[in-house]
Amino acid sequence: MSPETLAVVMFFTLFVGLLLGHPLAFTLGLLGVVFGVIGWGGSTDAVLALLANRAYGVMEEYVLVAVPLFIMMAQVLDASGIAERLFETMHIVMGRLRGGLGIAVIIACTIFSATAGVVGATVVSIGLLAIPALLRAGYNIPLIAGCITAGGTLGILIPPSIMLVVYGSLSQISVGWLYAAAFGPGFLLSALYIAYIVILCLIKPEYGPAETSGAHSGAEKAVMFAKSIVPPIILVLIVLGSIVAGIATPTEAAGMGVLGAVIMTLGYGKFSWKMMKDACWSTTITTSMIMTLFLGGNAFQAVFMGLGGGDAISNFMLGTKLPPIALLFVMMGIVFFLGCFLDWLGILLIVIPIFTPVSQELGFNGLWFATLICVNLQMAFLTPPFGYSIFYLKGISPPEITIYHIYKGVVPFVTLQWIGLILCIFIPEIILWAPARFFGPSVLG
Protein backbone atom coordinates (compact mmCIF):
# COMPACT_ATOMS: atom_id res chain seq x y z
CA MET A 1 0.00 0.00 0.00
CA SER A 2 1.40 3.40 -0.94
CA PRO A 3 1.69 5.97 1.85
CA GLU A 4 -1.03 8.12 0.26
CA THR A 5 -3.49 5.23 0.17
CA LEU A 6 -2.60 4.52 3.78
CA ALA A 7 -3.36 8.14 4.66
CA VAL A 8 -6.77 7.90 2.99
CA VAL A 9 -7.49 4.66 4.87
CA MET A 10 -6.42 6.46 8.05
CA PHE A 11 -8.90 9.24 7.41
CA PHE A 12 -11.80 6.82 6.99
CA THR A 13 -10.75 4.77 10.00
CA LEU A 14 -11.02 8.00 11.95
CA PHE A 15 -14.74 8.17 11.24
CA VAL A 16 -15.29 4.60 12.35
CA GLY A 17 -13.20 5.32 15.45
CA LEU A 18 -15.25 8.39 16.27
CA LEU A 19 -18.47 6.40 16.28
CA LEU A 20 -17.16 4.17 19.08
CA GLY A 21 -17.66 7.05 21.50
CA HIS A 22 -14.25 6.80 23.13
CA PRO A 23 -12.59 10.12 24.06
CA LEU A 24 -11.48 11.78 20.84
CA ALA A 25 -7.97 12.54 22.13
CA PHE A 26 -7.10 8.88 22.58
CA THR A 27 -8.79 7.73 19.36
CA LEU A 28 -6.85 10.29 17.31
CA GLY A 29 -3.63 9.43 19.11
CA LEU A 30 -3.99 5.69 18.63
CA LEU A 31 -4.59 6.09 14.89
CA GLY A 32 -1.42 8.17 14.78
CA VAL A 33 0.57 5.42 16.49
CA VAL A 34 -0.85 2.52 14.48
CA PHE A 35 -0.61 4.13 11.06
CA GLY A 36 2.76 5.61 11.91
CA VAL A 37 4.14 2.16 12.70
CA ILE A 38 2.66 0.67 9.50
CA GLY A 39 3.65 3.62 7.33
CA TRP A 40 7.25 3.78 8.52
CA GLY A 41 7.83 0.09 7.98
CA GLY A 42 7.30 -1.11 11.53
CA SER A 43 9.85 1.18 13.13
CA THR A 44 8.24 1.72 16.52
CA ASP A 45 11.11 3.77 17.91
CA ALA A 46 10.78 6.53 15.32
CA VAL A 47 7.04 6.86 15.96
CA LEU A 48 7.44 6.90 19.74
CA ALA A 49 10.20 9.50 19.56
CA LEU A 50 7.95 11.63 17.36
CA LEU A 51 5.10 11.27 19.89
CA ALA A 52 7.23 12.33 22.85
CA ASN A 53 8.68 15.23 20.90
CA ARG A 54 5.24 16.45 19.89
CA ALA A 55 3.93 16.13 23.46
CA TYR A 56 6.83 18.20 24.75
CA GLY A 57 6.36 20.66 21.88
CA VAL A 58 2.88 21.51 23.17
CA MET A 59 4.29 21.83 26.70
CA GLU A 60 6.79 24.49 25.64
CA GLU A 61 4.63 26.53 23.27
CA TYR A 62 4.50 29.99 24.80
CA VAL A 63 1.53 31.21 22.73
CA LEU A 64 -0.67 28.42 24.11
CA VAL A 65 -0.16 29.71 27.67
CA ALA A 66 -2.78 32.27 26.66
CA VAL A 67 -5.38 29.48 26.50
CA PRO A 68 -5.62 28.70 30.27
CA LEU A 69 -5.21 32.39 31.08
CA PHE A 70 -8.11 33.47 28.88
CA ILE A 71 -10.25 30.64 30.28
CA MET A 72 -9.35 31.78 33.80
CA MET A 73 -10.24 35.36 32.90
CA ALA A 74 -13.68 34.22 31.73
CA GLN A 75 -14.21 32.17 34.90
CA VAL A 76 -13.31 35.05 37.18
CA LEU A 77 -15.42 37.52 35.20
CA ASP A 78 -18.26 35.08 35.35
CA ALA A 79 -17.95 35.04 39.15
CA SER A 80 -17.91 38.84 39.19
CA GLY A 81 -21.51 38.77 37.98
CA ILE A 82 -20.77 41.05 35.06
CA ALA A 83 -22.73 38.95 32.57
CA GLU A 84 -25.82 39.15 34.78
CA ARG A 85 -25.41 42.90 35.19
CA LEU A 86 -25.07 43.35 31.45
CA PHE A 87 -28.20 41.35 30.78
CA GLU A 88 -30.20 43.06 33.56
CA THR A 89 -29.28 46.47 32.20
CA MET A 90 -30.12 45.54 28.62
CA HIS A 91 -33.35 43.99 29.88
CA ILE A 92 -34.41 47.27 31.47
CA VAL A 93 -33.24 49.40 28.56
CA MET A 94 -34.78 47.27 25.80
CA GLY A 95 -37.52 45.23 27.51
CA ARG A 96 -40.37 47.49 26.54
CA LEU A 97 -39.60 47.13 22.85
CA ARG A 98 -41.09 44.37 20.75
CA GLY A 99 -38.44 41.62 20.62
CA GLY A 100 -36.39 43.79 22.97
CA LEU A 101 -35.42 40.98 25.33
CA GLY A 102 -34.01 38.94 22.45
CA ILE A 103 -31.97 41.96 21.38
CA ALA A 104 -30.87 42.40 25.00
CA VAL A 105 -29.55 38.82 25.00
CA ILE A 106 -27.55 39.39 21.82
CA ILE A 107 -26.06 42.71 22.97
CA ALA A 108 -25.14 41.35 26.42
CA CYS A 109 -23.56 38.28 24.80
CA THR A 110 -21.62 40.40 22.32
CA ILE A 111 -20.13 42.60 25.04
CA PHE A 112 -19.39 39.66 27.32
CA SER A 113 -17.80 37.84 24.37
CA ALA A 114 -15.32 40.65 24.01
CA THR A 115 -14.08 39.89 27.52
CA ALA A 116 -14.34 36.09 27.42
CA GLY A 117 -12.60 33.72 25.03
CA VAL A 118 -14.91 30.78 25.55
CA VAL A 119 -18.53 29.87 24.89
CA GLY A 120 -19.61 27.99 28.00
CA ALA A 121 -19.40 30.91 30.41
CA THR A 122 -21.49 33.14 28.15
CA VAL A 123 -24.25 30.66 27.36
CA VAL A 124 -24.58 29.50 30.96
CA SER A 125 -24.43 32.79 32.83
CA ILE A 126 -26.60 34.78 30.43
CA GLY A 127 -28.89 31.81 29.81
CA LEU A 128 -29.60 31.31 33.52
CA LEU A 129 -31.03 34.82 33.75
CA ALA A 130 -32.43 35.21 30.29
CA ILE A 131 -34.41 31.98 30.03
CA PRO A 132 -36.81 32.73 32.92
CA ALA A 133 -37.13 36.38 31.88
CA LEU A 134 -37.95 35.53 28.27
CA LEU A 135 -40.32 32.72 29.21
CA ARG A 136 -42.18 35.06 31.58
CA ALA A 137 -42.53 37.65 28.82
CA GLY A 138 -44.06 34.94 26.62
CA TYR A 139 -41.35 34.63 23.97
CA ASN A 140 -41.44 31.87 21.40
CA ILE A 141 -39.39 29.01 22.89
CA PRO A 142 -37.26 28.14 19.84
CA LEU A 143 -36.44 31.84 19.47
CA ILE A 144 -35.25 31.93 23.10
CA ALA A 145 -33.05 28.90 22.55
CA GLY A 146 -31.70 30.23 19.26
CA CYS A 147 -30.71 33.66 20.46
CA ILE A 148 -28.98 32.41 23.63
CA THR A 149 -26.98 29.69 21.84
CA ALA A 150 -26.08 31.88 18.86
CA GLY A 151 -25.27 34.91 21.00
CA GLY A 152 -23.18 32.86 23.41
CA THR A 153 -21.26 31.25 20.58
CA LEU A 154 -19.94 34.67 19.57
CA GLY A 155 -17.55 34.18 22.51
CA ILE A 156 -15.38 31.87 20.44
CA LEU A 157 -15.15 34.32 17.52
CA ILE A 158 -14.97 37.78 19.05
CA PRO A 159 -11.49 38.31 20.54
CA PRO A 160 -9.99 37.33 22.95
CA SER A 161 -10.97 33.93 21.61
CA ILE A 162 -9.01 30.81 22.53
CA MET A 163 -9.85 29.38 19.11
CA LEU A 164 -7.84 32.17 17.47
CA VAL A 165 -4.91 31.52 19.84
CA VAL A 166 -4.93 27.86 18.84
CA TYR A 167 -5.21 28.79 15.17
CA GLY A 168 -2.23 31.09 15.51
CA SER A 169 -0.14 28.35 17.12
CA LEU A 170 -1.08 25.77 14.46
CA SER A 171 -0.47 28.05 11.48
CA GLN A 172 2.16 30.71 11.26
CA ILE A 173 -0.27 33.62 11.51
CA SER A 174 0.12 36.18 14.29
CA VAL A 175 -2.60 36.00 16.94
CA GLY A 176 -2.75 39.80 16.96
CA TRP A 177 -3.65 39.80 13.26
CA LEU A 178 -6.29 37.13 13.78
CA TYR A 179 -7.79 39.13 16.65
CA ALA A 180 -7.99 42.27 14.53
CA ALA A 181 -9.52 40.26 11.68
CA ALA A 182 -12.22 38.57 13.78
CA PHE A 183 -13.85 41.79 14.99
CA GLY A 184 -15.59 42.59 11.71
CA PRO A 185 -17.27 39.21 11.24
CA GLY A 186 -18.14 39.03 14.95
CA PHE A 187 -19.97 42.33 14.95
CA LEU A 188 -21.51 41.54 11.56
CA LEU A 189 -23.05 38.35 12.94
CA SER A 190 -24.26 40.16 16.04
CA ALA A 191 -25.93 42.79 13.82
CA LEU A 192 -27.50 40.10 11.63
CA TYR A 193 -28.99 38.38 14.71
CA ILE A 194 -30.45 41.65 15.96
CA ALA A 195 -31.88 42.49 12.53
CA TYR A 196 -33.45 39.03 12.34
CA ILE A 197 -35.10 39.38 15.77
CA VAL A 198 -36.43 42.85 14.92
CA ILE A 199 -37.88 41.76 11.58
CA LEU A 200 -39.31 38.51 12.97
CA CYS A 201 -41.05 40.34 15.81
CA LEU A 202 -42.45 42.93 13.41
CA ILE A 203 -44.01 40.20 11.29
CA LYS A 204 -45.05 37.97 14.18
CA PRO A 205 -45.51 40.14 17.30
CA GLU A 206 -46.51 37.11 19.40
CA TYR A 207 -42.94 35.72 19.08
CA GLY A 208 -41.43 38.51 21.16
CA PRO A 209 -44.03 40.52 23.10
CA ALA A 210 -43.00 43.82 24.66
CA GLU A 211 -42.93 43.99 28.44
CA THR A 212 -45.45 46.29 30.07
CA SER A 213 -44.21 46.38 33.66
CA GLY A 214 -41.18 47.97 35.27
CA ALA A 215 -40.86 51.48 33.90
CA HIS A 216 -37.56 53.18 34.78
CA SER A 217 -36.67 56.80 34.26
CA GLY A 218 -34.11 57.81 31.67
CA ALA A 219 -31.61 58.87 34.33
CA GLU A 220 -31.87 55.53 36.18
CA LYS A 221 -31.28 53.70 32.92
CA ALA A 222 -28.23 55.82 32.14
CA VAL A 223 -26.65 55.09 35.55
CA MET A 224 -27.23 51.34 35.28
CA PHE A 225 -25.91 51.37 31.77
CA ALA A 226 -22.71 53.14 32.79
CA LYS A 227 -22.13 50.91 35.84
CA SER A 228 -22.46 47.64 33.96
CA ILE A 229 -20.82 48.57 30.68
CA VAL A 230 -17.92 50.87 31.49
CA PRO A 231 -15.79 48.41 33.55
CA PRO A 232 -15.85 45.56 31.01
CA ILE A 233 -15.18 47.98 28.15
CA ILE A 234 -12.12 49.34 29.95
CA LEU A 235 -10.90 45.78 30.48
CA VAL A 236 -11.46 44.94 26.81
CA LEU A 237 -9.61 48.03 25.68
CA ILE A 238 -6.62 47.21 27.88
CA VAL A 239 -6.41 43.53 26.96
CA LEU A 240 -7.20 43.69 23.26
CA GLY A 241 -5.71 47.12 22.75
CA SER A 242 -2.33 46.01 24.06
CA ILE A 243 -2.32 43.00 21.71
CA VAL A 244 -3.47 44.87 18.63
CA ALA A 245 -1.11 47.76 19.36
CA GLY A 246 1.71 45.23 19.57
CA ILE A 247 2.67 46.24 23.13
CA ALA A 248 1.93 42.85 24.67
CA THR A 249 1.92 39.25 23.47
CA PRO A 250 -1.46 37.48 23.75
CA THR A 251 -0.09 35.56 26.75
CA GLU A 252 0.92 38.75 28.56
CA ALA A 253 -2.39 40.42 27.74
CA ALA A 254 -4.26 37.35 29.00
CA GLY A 255 -2.32 37.40 32.28
CA MET A 256 -3.13 41.09 32.72
CA GLY A 257 -6.74 40.25 31.83
CA VAL A 258 -6.92 37.79 34.74
CA LEU A 259 -5.53 40.46 37.04
CA GLY A 260 -8.08 42.97 35.71
CA ALA A 261 -10.90 40.48 36.21
CA VAL A 262 -9.78 39.82 39.79
CA ILE A 263 -9.74 43.57 40.43
CA MET A 264 -13.28 43.77 39.02
CA THR A 265 -14.52 41.07 41.40
CA LEU A 266 -12.98 43.07 44.25
CA GLY A 267 -14.75 46.20 42.99
CA TYR A 268 -18.12 44.46 42.80
CA GLY A 269 -17.57 42.86 46.23
CA LYS A 270 -17.62 39.34 44.81
CA PHE A 271 -14.05 38.33 45.61
CA SER A 272 -13.39 35.35 47.88
CA TRP A 273 -10.73 32.65 48.07
CA LYS A 274 -13.34 30.03 47.41
CA MET A 275 -14.22 31.83 44.18
CA MET A 276 -10.53 31.84 43.17
CA LYS A 277 -10.14 28.15 43.98
CA ASP A 278 -13.25 27.25 41.99
CA ALA A 279 -12.01 29.34 39.06
CA CYS A 280 -8.63 27.56 39.18
CA TRP A 281 -10.30 24.18 39.28
CA SER A 282 -12.70 24.65 36.37
CA THR A 283 -10.00 26.39 34.33
CA THR A 284 -7.62 23.50 34.89
CA ILE A 285 -10.11 20.80 33.93
CA THR A 286 -11.14 22.67 30.77
CA THR A 287 -7.52 23.37 29.80
CA SER A 288 -6.56 19.78 30.45
CA MET A 289 -9.38 18.59 28.20
CA ILE A 290 -8.26 20.93 25.40
CA MET A 291 -4.56 20.09 25.74
CA THR A 292 -5.12 16.33 25.90
CA LEU A 293 -6.99 16.65 22.64
CA PHE A 294 -4.00 18.58 21.35
CA LEU A 295 -1.73 15.71 22.37
CA GLY A 296 -3.75 13.09 20.49
CA GLY A 297 -4.59 15.35 17.57
CA ASN A 298 -0.93 16.26 17.14
CA ALA A 299 0.04 12.59 16.90
CA PHE A 300 -2.66 12.00 14.30
CA GLN A 301 -1.74 15.09 12.35
CA ALA A 302 2.01 14.44 12.37
CA VAL A 303 1.57 10.94 10.99
CA PHE A 304 -1.15 11.88 8.53
CA MET A 305 0.98 14.65 7.07
CA GLY A 306 4.11 12.49 7.22
CA LEU A 307 2.41 9.84 5.10
CA GLY A 308 1.56 12.50 2.53
CA GLY A 309 -2.16 12.57 3.33
CA GLY A 310 -2.24 16.35 3.13
CA ASP A 311 -0.58 16.34 -0.31
CA ALA A 312 -2.92 13.61 -1.51
CA ILE A 313 -5.99 15.61 -0.56
CA SER A 314 -4.67 18.92 -1.86
CA ASN A 315 -3.53 17.34 -5.15
CA PHE A 316 -6.93 15.78 -5.52
CA MET A 317 -8.69 19.07 -4.86
CA LEU A 318 -6.44 21.08 -7.17
CA GLY A 319 -6.68 18.32 -9.79
CA THR A 320 -10.43 18.80 -10.11
CA LYS A 321 -9.64 22.09 -11.91
CA LEU A 322 -12.67 23.71 -10.31
CA PRO A 323 -12.53 27.52 -10.10
CA PRO A 324 -11.03 28.77 -6.79
CA ILE A 325 -14.32 30.09 -5.50
CA ALA A 326 -15.98 26.68 -5.98
CA LEU A 327 -13.12 24.96 -4.14
CA LEU A 328 -13.48 27.52 -1.35
CA PHE A 329 -17.14 26.57 -0.99
CA VAL A 330 -16.20 22.87 -1.05
CA MET A 331 -13.75 23.46 1.82
CA MET A 332 -16.31 25.50 3.75
CA GLY A 333 -18.85 22.75 3.19
CA ILE A 334 -16.42 20.13 4.55
CA VAL A 335 -15.72 22.21 7.66
CA PHE A 336 -19.47 22.68 8.18
CA PHE A 337 -20.10 18.94 7.77
CA LEU A 338 -17.31 18.03 10.21
CA GLY A 339 -18.81 20.57 12.61
CA CYS A 340 -21.95 18.47 12.96
CA PHE A 341 -19.93 15.64 14.51
CA LEU A 342 -16.66 17.02 15.84
CA ASP A 343 -15.69 19.83 18.14
CA TRP A 344 -13.79 22.90 16.94
CA LEU A 345 -10.34 21.81 18.11
CA GLY A 346 -10.56 18.40 16.47
CA ILE A 347 -11.56 20.10 13.22
CA LEU A 348 -8.78 22.68 13.40
CA LEU A 349 -6.15 20.00 14.04
CA ILE A 350 -7.29 17.99 11.03
CA VAL A 351 -8.19 20.76 8.63
CA ILE A 352 -5.50 23.44 9.01
CA PRO A 353 -2.55 21.38 7.70
CA ILE A 354 -4.62 20.06 4.79
CA PHE A 355 -6.44 23.21 3.68
CA THR A 356 -3.73 25.81 4.27
CA PRO A 357 -1.53 24.61 1.35
CA VAL A 358 -4.59 24.38 -0.92
CA SER A 359 -5.60 27.94 -0.07
CA GLN A 360 -2.04 29.11 -0.79
CA GLU A 361 -2.03 27.34 -4.18
CA LEU A 362 -5.31 29.03 -4.99
CA GLY A 363 -3.78 32.41 -4.13
CA PHE A 364 -6.06 33.25 -1.19
CA ASN A 365 -4.96 35.69 1.48
CA GLY A 366 -3.88 33.56 4.47
CA LEU A 367 -5.42 35.78 7.13
CA TRP A 368 -8.72 36.03 5.27
CA PHE A 369 -8.91 32.28 4.77
CA ALA A 370 -8.08 31.59 8.44
CA THR A 371 -10.81 33.95 9.59
CA LEU A 372 -13.34 32.34 7.26
CA ILE A 373 -12.59 28.96 8.83
CA CYS A 374 -13.09 30.45 12.30
CA VAL A 375 -16.40 32.10 11.33
CA ASN A 376 -17.47 28.77 9.89
CA LEU A 377 -16.45 26.86 13.03
CA GLN A 378 -18.94 28.83 15.07
CA MET A 379 -21.60 26.72 13.42
CA ALA A 380 -19.96 23.63 14.90
CA PHE A 381 -21.29 24.83 18.27
CA LEU A 382 -24.84 25.01 16.99
CA THR A 383 -25.22 22.17 14.53
CA PRO A 384 -26.85 19.02 15.87
CA PRO A 385 -26.23 16.28 16.77
CA PHE A 386 -22.93 17.40 18.34
CA GLY A 387 -22.84 21.06 19.38
CA TYR A 388 -21.48 22.43 22.63
CA SER A 389 -23.84 25.40 22.84
CA ILE A 390 -26.80 23.05 22.50
CA PHE A 391 -25.48 20.94 25.38
CA TYR A 392 -24.76 23.96 27.56
CA LEU A 393 -28.24 25.36 27.01
CA LYS A 394 -29.91 22.00 27.59
CA GLY A 395 -27.96 21.71 30.83
CA ILE A 396 -29.50 24.86 32.30
CA SER A 397 -32.97 24.76 30.71
CA PRO A 398 -36.21 24.14 32.58
CA PRO A 399 -38.11 21.05 31.37
CA GLU A 400 -40.48 23.03 29.12
CA ILE A 401 -37.54 23.68 26.76
CA THR A 402 -36.91 20.38 25.01
CA ILE A 403 -33.97 19.42 22.83
CA TYR A 404 -36.30 19.73 19.81
CA HIS A 405 -37.08 23.34 20.67
CA ILE A 406 -33.34 23.96 20.70
CA TYR A 407 -32.76 22.15 17.39
CA LYS A 408 -35.59 24.14 15.83
CA GLY A 409 -34.29 27.35 17.36
CA VAL A 410 -30.76 27.10 15.99
CA VAL A 411 -31.84 26.63 12.35
CA PRO A 412 -32.49 30.33 11.56
CA PHE A 413 -29.29 31.32 13.36
CA VAL A 414 -27.15 28.80 11.48
CA THR A 415 -28.70 30.22 8.30
CA LEU A 416 -27.69 33.71 9.43
CA GLN A 417 -24.16 32.44 10.09
CA TRP A 418 -24.01 31.11 6.54
CA ILE A 419 -25.19 34.49 5.28
CA GLY A 420 -22.48 36.15 7.37
CA LEU A 421 -19.88 33.74 6.05
CA ILE A 422 -20.91 34.35 2.43
CA LEU A 423 -20.80 38.12 3.00
CA CYS A 424 -17.24 37.73 4.35
CA ILE A 425 -16.30 35.69 1.28
CA PHE A 426 -17.58 38.22 -1.23
CA ILE A 427 -16.67 41.34 0.75
CA PRO A 428 -13.19 40.49 2.13
CA GLU A 429 -12.92 43.99 3.62
CA ILE A 430 -15.21 42.88 6.47
CA ILE A 431 -12.29 40.74 7.64
CA LEU A 432 -9.28 42.61 6.29
CA TRP A 433 -10.19 46.24 6.92
CA ALA A 434 -9.26 46.30 10.63
CA PRO A 435 -5.97 44.39 10.39
CA ALA A 436 -4.87 46.47 7.38
CA ARG A 437 -5.63 49.57 9.38
CA PHE A 438 -3.69 48.44 12.46
CA PHE A 439 -0.82 46.50 10.95
CA GLY A 440 -0.42 48.17 7.57
CA PRO A 441 -0.72 46.73 4.06
CA SER A 442 1.57 43.76 4.85
CA VAL A 443 -1.46 41.73 5.98
CA LEU A 444 -2.90 41.97 2.48
CA GLY A 445 0.17 40.35 0.91
Binding site: L30, V33, A49, A52, M59, P68, T284, S288, F386
Partner: protein
Protein backbone atom coordinates in the same frame (compact mmCIF):
# COMPACT_ATOMS: atom_id res chain seq x y z
CA UNK B 1 -10.39 -4.84 47.65
CA UNK B 2 -10.67 -3.75 44.02
CA UNK B 3 -13.40 -1.34 45.00
CA UNK B 4 -11.29 0.40 47.59
CA UNK B 5 -8.46 0.53 45.04
CA UNK B 6 -10.77 2.40 42.64
CA UNK B 7 -11.89 4.77 45.37
CA UNK B 8 -8.27 5.41 46.36
CA UNK B 9 -7.20 6.16 42.76
CA UNK B 10 -10.15 8.54 42.28
CA UNK B 11 -9.42 10.37 45.50
CA UNK B 12 -5.70 10.56 44.81
CA UNK B 13 -6.04 11.86 41.26
CA UNK B 14 -8.70 14.40 42.21
CA UNK B 15 -6.41 15.57 45.00
CA UNK B 16 -3.46 15.89 42.61
CA UNK B 17 -5.70 17.81 40.18
CA UNK B 18 -6.87 20.15 42.95
CA UNK B 19 -3.34 20.90 44.05
CA UNK B 20 -1.97 21.42 40.54
CA UNK B 21 -4.94 23.65 39.66
CA UNK B 22 -3.54 26.20 42.13
CA UNK B 23 -0.63 26.62 39.72
CA UNK B 24 -2.98 28.98 37.83
CA UNK B 25 -2.48 31.66 40.49
CA UNK B 26 1.34 31.88 40.32
CA UNK B 27 0.99 31.49 36.53
CA UNK B 28 -0.94 34.70 36.01
CA UNK B 29 0.99 36.52 38.72
CA UNK B 30 4.35 35.67 37.11
CA UNK B 31 3.07 36.83 33.71
CA UNK B 32 1.89 40.13 35.23
CA UNK B 33 5.09 40.57 37.23
CA UNK B 34 7.16 40.24 34.07
CA UNK B 35 4.94 42.74 32.24
CA UNK B 36 5.33 45.31 35.04
CA UNK B 37 9.08 44.77 35.38
CA UNK B 38 9.72 45.08 31.67
CA UNK B 39 7.26 47.76 30.59
CA UNK B 40 7.28 49.98 33.67
CA UNK B 41 10.76 49.54 35.13
CA UNK B 42 12.56 48.33 32.04
CA UNK B 43 14.09 45.50 34.11
CA UNK B 44 13.08 42.23 32.45
CA UNK B 45 13.72 39.10 34.52
CA UNK B 46 15.70 36.17 33.16
CA UNK B 47 13.41 33.56 34.70
CA UNK B 48 9.80 34.63 34.09
CA UNK B 49 9.51 33.25 30.56
CA UNK B 50 10.52 29.72 31.50
CA UNK B 51 8.68 29.69 34.82
CA UNK B 52 5.52 30.65 32.90
CA UNK B 53 5.98 27.71 30.54
CA UNK B 54 6.66 25.25 33.38
CA UNK B 55 3.61 26.30 35.39
CA UNK B 56 1.40 26.03 32.32
CA UNK B 57 2.62 22.57 31.30
CA UNK B 58 2.60 21.24 34.86
CA UNK B 59 -0.94 22.51 35.38
CA UNK B 60 -2.66 20.78 32.48
CA UNK B 61 -0.51 17.64 32.29
CA UNK B 62 -0.94 16.71 35.96
CA UNK B 63 -4.70 17.30 35.70
CA UNK B 64 -5.23 14.88 32.79
CA UNK B 65 -6.02 12.05 35.21
CA UNK B 66 -8.51 14.13 37.21
CA UNK B 67 -10.17 15.16 33.94
CA UNK B 68 -10.47 11.51 32.96
CA UNK B 69 -11.85 10.65 36.42
CA UNK B 70 -14.60 13.25 35.90
CA UNK B 71 -15.14 11.96 32.34
CA UNK B 72 -14.53 15.40 30.90
CA UNK B 73 -12.40 14.35 27.90
CA UNK B 74 -14.45 15.15 24.79
CA UNK B 75 -16.16 12.11 23.32
CA UNK B 76 -18.47 11.99 20.33
CA UNK B 77 -21.20 9.94 22.00
CA UNK B 78 -24.28 11.05 20.07
CA UNK B 79 -24.43 7.69 18.32
CA UNK B 80 -23.46 5.40 21.18
CA UNK B 81 -26.02 7.09 23.44
CA UNK B 82 -28.73 5.53 21.26
CA UNK B 83 -27.61 2.06 22.36
CA UNK B 84 -29.10 0.34 25.42
CA UNK B 85 -27.14 1.17 28.61
CA UNK B 86 -25.63 -2.32 28.84
CA UNK B 87 -24.27 -2.17 25.29
CA UNK B 88 -22.81 1.27 26.01
CA UNK B 89 -20.94 -0.11 28.99
CA UNK B 90 -19.62 -3.09 27.04
CA UNK B 91 -18.42 -0.74 24.31
CA UNK B 92 -16.64 1.38 26.91
CA UNK B 93 -14.93 -1.67 28.37
CA UNK B 94 -13.78 -2.80 24.93
CA UNK B 95 -12.55 0.58 23.75
CA UNK B 96 -10.59 0.97 26.97
CA UNK B 97 -8.38 -1.96 25.93
CA UNK B 98 -8.59 -1.26 22.22
CA UNK B 99 -7.85 2.49 22.26
CA UNK B 100 -6.88 3.87 25.66
CA UNK B 101 -4.38 1.23 26.79
CA UNK B 102 -2.33 1.06 23.57
CA UNK B 103 -2.19 4.83 23.04
CA UNK B 104 -1.62 6.02 26.59
CA UNK B 105 0.69 3.04 27.13
CA UNK B 106 2.76 3.92 24.05
CA UNK B 107 2.94 7.56 25.05
CA UNK B 108 3.91 6.62 28.61
CA UNK B 109 6.67 4.42 27.25
CA UNK B 110 7.86 7.13 24.87
CA UNK B 111 7.64 9.80 27.56
CA UNK B 112 9.67 7.73 30.01
CA UNK B 113 12.45 7.21 27.47
CA UNK B 114 12.31 10.91 26.63
CA UNK B 115 12.66 12.01 30.25
CA UNK B 116 15.32 9.38 30.98
CA UNK B 117 17.44 10.73 28.14
CA UNK B 118 17.17 14.22 29.59
CA UNK B 119 18.31 12.95 33.03
CA UNK B 120 21.16 10.99 31.46
CA UNK B 121 22.44 14.08 29.64
CA UNK B 122 21.86 16.32 32.66
CA UNK B 123 20.03 18.54 30.16
CA UNK B 124 19.75 22.27 30.81
CA UNK B 125 17.87 24.96 28.90
CA UNK B 126 19.75 27.12 26.38
CA UNK B 127 18.50 30.39 27.85
CA UNK B 128 20.51 32.86 29.90
CA UNK B 129 18.94 31.45 33.05
CA UNK B 130 19.85 27.80 32.13
CA UNK B 131 17.42 25.93 34.37
CA UNK B 132 17.59 22.11 34.34
CA UNK B 133 15.05 20.59 31.95
CA UNK B 134 14.87 17.05 33.37
CA UNK B 135 12.41 17.83 36.18
CA UNK B 136 9.99 19.40 33.69
CA UNK B 137 10.36 16.54 31.23
CA UNK B 138 9.68 14.09 34.08
CA UNK B 139 6.18 15.60 34.29
CA UNK B 140 5.35 13.71 31.05
CA UNK B 141 5.82 10.13 32.37
CA UNK B 142 4.45 10.94 35.83
CA UNK B 143 1.25 12.54 34.53
CA UNK B 144 0.75 9.77 31.97
CA UNK B 145 1.26 7.10 34.61
CA UNK B 146 -1.48 8.72 36.70
CA UNK B 147 -3.71 8.91 33.63
CA UNK B 148 -3.06 5.24 32.87
CA UNK B 149 -3.94 4.32 36.45
CA UNK B 150 -7.13 6.39 36.26
CA UNK B 151 -8.08 4.64 33.04
CA UNK B 152 -7.76 1.30 34.81
CA UNK B 153 -9.84 2.56 37.75
CA UNK B 154 -12.55 3.74 35.35
CA UNK B 155 -12.43 0.33 33.66
CA UNK B 156 -12.97 -1.50 36.97
CA UNK B 157 -15.79 0.87 37.90
CA UNK B 158 -17.57 0.22 34.62
CA UNK B 159 -16.98 -3.51 35.00
CA UNK B 160 -18.81 -3.42 38.34
CA UNK B 161 -21.51 -1.25 36.81
CA UNK B 162 -22.08 -3.91 34.19
CA UNK B 163 -22.61 -6.40 36.99
CA UNK B 164 -25.07 -3.94 38.52
CA UNK B 165 -22.85 -2.89 41.41
CA UNK B 166 -21.99 0.67 42.24
CA UNK B 167 -18.64 1.81 43.58
Amino acid sequence: MLKSFVRAVDAFNLFVGRVTSYAMIPLFLVVCYEVFMRKLFNMPTVWAFEVTIYLYGFNYMMAMAATHCLDRHVRIDVITLQLPPKAQLVLRLITHWLVFVPFVGALLWAGTAYAAKSWANWEHSWSAWKPPLYPYKTVIPVSLALLFLQGFANFVREWYQLKGEKI
